[in-house]
Point group: C2
Chain length 427, copies 2
């Protein structure tokens, strides 16, 4: 499906750019070897790792052993013998290292939505005299719905404002600021908030800072400790490659762990779980964030997938992410603007996550035509072609080839095909 | 580990009972062939299917294809091409048939705990003028914790009473009765509530009936429609064999689906999910009960596991369940009472689910010694050996052999071994 073919060299920013230059970047890439850890189908340039990460080669055998050996043969004994019971903490500890947290500040459970509900209600209980939650009106819709519910149930109010008015809204709330709750990287545009500055301002105002790391974890050197973030959540099926619907994570800063009271307590988070007591008494530490029984198959797939991050320097990941997205934007300016594309993502790398959104009036059909040609990205309302660059497996030449194919799709007007007009894309 | 060996015949209730009689029951068992659908390790009598169901033979290949083909090769496209997106509804529809519900009244998602929270908060919104939730003080602890939280967040109160005082408590609440929320089958004793009568009484009082079916679904012919139940939840990893931590289900009677407002809404449950709108508008029907992204691996394992129920008559399942538990209780009276065991489960079959709890002062060590001999059950505080009889794969001779081995464990005092004294059992 993907015809690599070296395209012509041309001038870009005064520098001669060619496919060969991208091949050279791949040869110089300290992360180049990581791609071999993944299963990637032939003929595909996968630019949707920001939605569903690719399959890590360790996962199939781990799933086989989890299903056949641990479940099939071990049966209930595997809760102990195969260490299922401690998997939420164990995987959380591995994940903590990727988001700048201590091992005992992160646990894996439930979905991002459910975990966001837990931390927002818990935030209201930590700050019972404050009533305003400030959020970004362009946040992921489920985050908005959950925030509305958490506020409604705790008697607090949501101040939902434009991205660049968040600090002003926090200051307007002043002593009533309960928390600022933001998604670090915008799911559509990849616009980043300034986690450090916003968290600091929230603290100066006496409020808490809650961050959603769905589009950050594993691709940016998130520094929860360094930024003094209070609470955070995130999913694991994007850059962390946990698999479809893999369980999410929740972070609680150590300084809050003694006091935090989440609204969905379960026996696994009880101080004496096996006593099965009628009254709830939270366990010390992050385990109190657990609700029901952990989704083991998803947890164990995630654990196996995280081996792809072993000994990876997140600074290298970020550097490659910037190189990939910068190159894509540069090529978009050079070769795609004439076809009606605009760059909807921030041009300053520091303000951008690891995907790039291109605006186009025919974005939906273009995305489908591109997928038919083996370049997998996704469409986002109202008019965005969204392409994600997962540095562990996306190569520099993939950027070049994706643009080549996109130009070809436009020149052949493949996006006008009826087959590409029916909207049914997911996530 | 398990030595079958035919034991001596002796008199029981005037009938001569021997292992041969149990073998004959297996030959006459209309469900006998189902056992071949399961992977069961050699040397094990598995009496913990009420905690983690056994592995259905279809599951390993389904997991392999889900991981390698759908995730690995299909990548994000599988949300559409492999019908991942509709799995919660699809699997819910299959499950509905096992609990007496219509296909569009059940959806699979999240954990039982999270779903219970959703339905209790939703119940409070359906009946905003009523404030009392009646529950059973011996309910599963997480249910109690979640009920307390749901009540606290909705300004309602919990009336938690002894099992046999539930109806009186409902009547005491009278016009203030918001809902009765009960676990159908008690996780320790297997005591059943009278779903039909209690639901009817709740309705007469103007309240709602919420049922937790964790220990009922798949082993009893639950009749949600016939009983006019309003809301229900349950897990799928016990008798339904979905695997460790497989996603739970939630039932909403069709008559409530237009009005129900659950507190953890997500974009998958939105009327126009792919528009990703900032304001929530619930989709018509059961899909509005969805929160975050569905845990696909668990869902697909469950779907494969449910093939074990294809063309099964739940009346046959119930009849075998009663035969197994009655025989076990009978043998316990005959052979185990002398060793200090008491029967902690109801003796009347109509009042009992599909497990039997035996009380004993040394229950913990006995359970561990029994497991070491290949009879897998579990310990429950304070003094219970809990043994579950999953009729799709437990044989009549397993009942006989389990008692033989239990007698042997007692005669040899194996429960006194130090190795069996450390408490670490799970679920």
């Amino acid at each position: 499906m993907v015809g690599g073919g070296s395209g012509p060299a041309w001038q870009s920013g005064g520098v001669s750019v060619s496919r060969e230059a991208f091949e050279q970047r791949d040869r110089d890439d300290p992360l180049a070897g990581r791609r071999d850890l993944f299963v990637l189908p032939d003929g595909v340039i996968y630019l949707d790792g920001n939605s569903l990460g690719a399959l890590v080669r360790t996962v199939p055998e781990r799933m086989r052993s989890a299903v056949e050996d641990e479940w099939g043969s071990g049966l209930i004994r595997s809760w102990n013998d195969a260490d299922w019971y401690t998997a939420p903490q164990r995987v959380g500890a591995q994940l903590a290292a990727l988001v700048g947290a201590d091992a005992d500040e992160v646990i894996v459970c439930d979905s991002t939505s459910v975990n966001l509900f837990k931390v927002l209600v818990a935030a209201a209980r930590l700050e019972p005299t404050r009533r305003t939650i400030v959020t970004d009106e362009t946040t992921f819709p489920t985050d908005a719905y959950i925030t509305t519910e958490a506020a409604g149930l705790t008697g607090t109010v949501v101040s939902s404002v434009a991205s660049d008015e968040v600090v002003a809204a926090m200051e307007a709330a002043g002593e009533d600021l309960l928390a600022v709750s933001l998604t670090d990287v915008d799911y559509r545009t990849a616009r980043r908030h300034d986690m450090r500055a916003i968290t600091q301002r929230a603290h100066e105002l006496g409020g808490l800072a809650v961050w959603d790391l769905c589009h950050s974890a594993g691709v940016l050197p998130v520094d929860l400790a360094g930024c003094s973030v209070d609470l955070a959540v995130g999913c694991t099926y994007k850059y962390l490659n946990g698999g479809p619907g893999s369980p999410a994570f929740v972070f609680v800063a150590a300084r809050h762990l003694d006091a935090i009271q989440q609204p969905l307590p379960g026996w696994h988070g009880h101080a004496r779980p096996f006593a099965l007591e009628a009254a709830y008494e939270p366990a010390p530490g992050i385990v109190r964030m657990l609700s029901g029984t952990a989704p083991q198959l998803g947890l164990l797939a995630l654990e196996a997938a995280l081996t792809a991050y072993k000994d990876v320097a997140l600074d290298d990941v970020r550097a490659k992410s910037i190189a990939l997205t910068e190159a894509f934007i540069e090529l978009a300016d050079e070769r795609l603007a004439a076809h009606g594309f605009t760059v909807a993502s921030p041009r300053r790398s520091a303000e951008r996550g690891s995907h790039v959104a291109l605006g186009h009036d025919h974005a939906y059909g273009i995305t489908q035509a591109l997928i038919a040609r083996g370049v997998i990205g996704d469409f986002r309302e109202p008019n965005l072609v969204r392409l994600g660059f997962a540095p562990l497996y996306v190569r520099h030449v993939d950027v070049w080839d994706a643009v080549e194919l996109l130009v070809d799709v436009m020149e052949r007007e493949e996006w006008t095909d009826a087959a590409h007009q029916q909207r049914n894309a997911v996530t």
